[in-house]
Symmetry: C3
Subunit: 156 residues, 3 copies
């Protein structure tokens, strides 16, 4: 259960609890499984009802804060996979991660923001966490979130 | 044929005809099927040759108009699935919807815009219409469209 | 080997060598294969260590230069598929292409930029290169790239 241990270790380091009611319903849903693929909805850096990192990266938000935001987004995505699959064990690979950064005009360190997400996926999942990635800087994100991230995982 | 009935009911309510020649060719195509997945190209709120909702949401375009735009995008996507599959019956699930909003600086109600799309997918497809979703606010969309939306569907 | 011939012909016409070490490692990776799908990471118009087309399209970068950027992105994606699969022969279809353009405020010819990518995919891959597509204009791309593009391919 090394994945579970790393997941909990990261949660402790970040100081947030990712065991809340993440799987809320509605007309869309955080997770859909189809065949060997699991789609996870766009995650923002929210814990409970608190949006942790808001504002424009490169103006209101530093690179380090944006990387933290990316890590929280990943933890939410992992928490959703964990809830939905029972544990992280069935994840055989992260196939695709798309990272949207609410960027200031002229802020081009989008890959560097996304590195926060990529490093954490590798730490928790090992080789299964090595994914393809696209990083872009957008004008606005929901509720002024600094970062939003979605992913597709492969499961056994 | 409740899906067909709802599709036609929404078309009547919106006051647009979605039976036009949507499947135009070129070097790209509106729909590609592979295995159990159908990919639908990015749809803008165009009906026939008319782009119905243009401009920047939060400045030129209200939230309600943007939700209408999102609904038209979804109807186009459903019309393409319907044309391509013969009917909407083979759609077993909408896996992923990505909603791009041509946003004004400071407009953060991107999830609210996307709700227009999500509600309609649920209305027409029922549980099969409950999808994962990512909503972002971008600087510009093709032909000044207020909203663009793409999706991946699962088919039997 | 018509695909290989066209790939090399385009490389000569563009005047760039796409045989470099594209498959660098890290916590993310340029290509992941899962079942019949191959995901390719977001590609920018870089050749070797040189970012060929930077700046904002519609202000610093013309439509023609942005189309060149889109073609270089596609050539990089094809080069990655070729390296990863041994040749381009196993590619049975390009399923999805997403084109992000670093756009100037008011620049709406995003489909026209993406046409540079789509035409080249058709030229090299023929009917297998006819894909679904989404084109959006974003505020910033990594390292000030004018265009970024990712794709999903189907393989035999």
């Amino acid at each position: 259960m090394s994945r579970e241990r790393e997941f909990q270790a990261v949660a402790r380091e970040l100081g947030y609890d990712f065991n809340g009611e993440l799987l809320k319903g509605g007309n869309y849903t955080p997770v859909v499984r189809h065949g060997g693929q699991v789609f996870v909805s766009g995650q923002v850096p929210r814990v409970g009802s608190q949006m942790v990192v808001t504002g424009r990266v490169g103006r209101d938000v530093t690179l380090a804060q944006a990387q933290l935001a990316a890590r929280i987004c990943v933890m939410r995505a992992l928490a959703l996979l964990r809830q939905s699959l029972g544990s992280l064990a069935p994840v055989s690979r992260i196939l695709r991660v798309t990272v949207f950064v609410q960027a200031a005009d002229g802020f081009t360190q989008l890959s560097e923001v996304a590195d926060g997400a990529s490093e954490l996926l590798f730490r928790v999942l090992g080789e299964a966490g090595v994914h393809t990635r696209t990083s872009v800087g957008v004008l606005q994100l929901p509720k002024d979130a600094a970062v939003e991230l979605d992913l597709i995982a492969a499961v056994d």
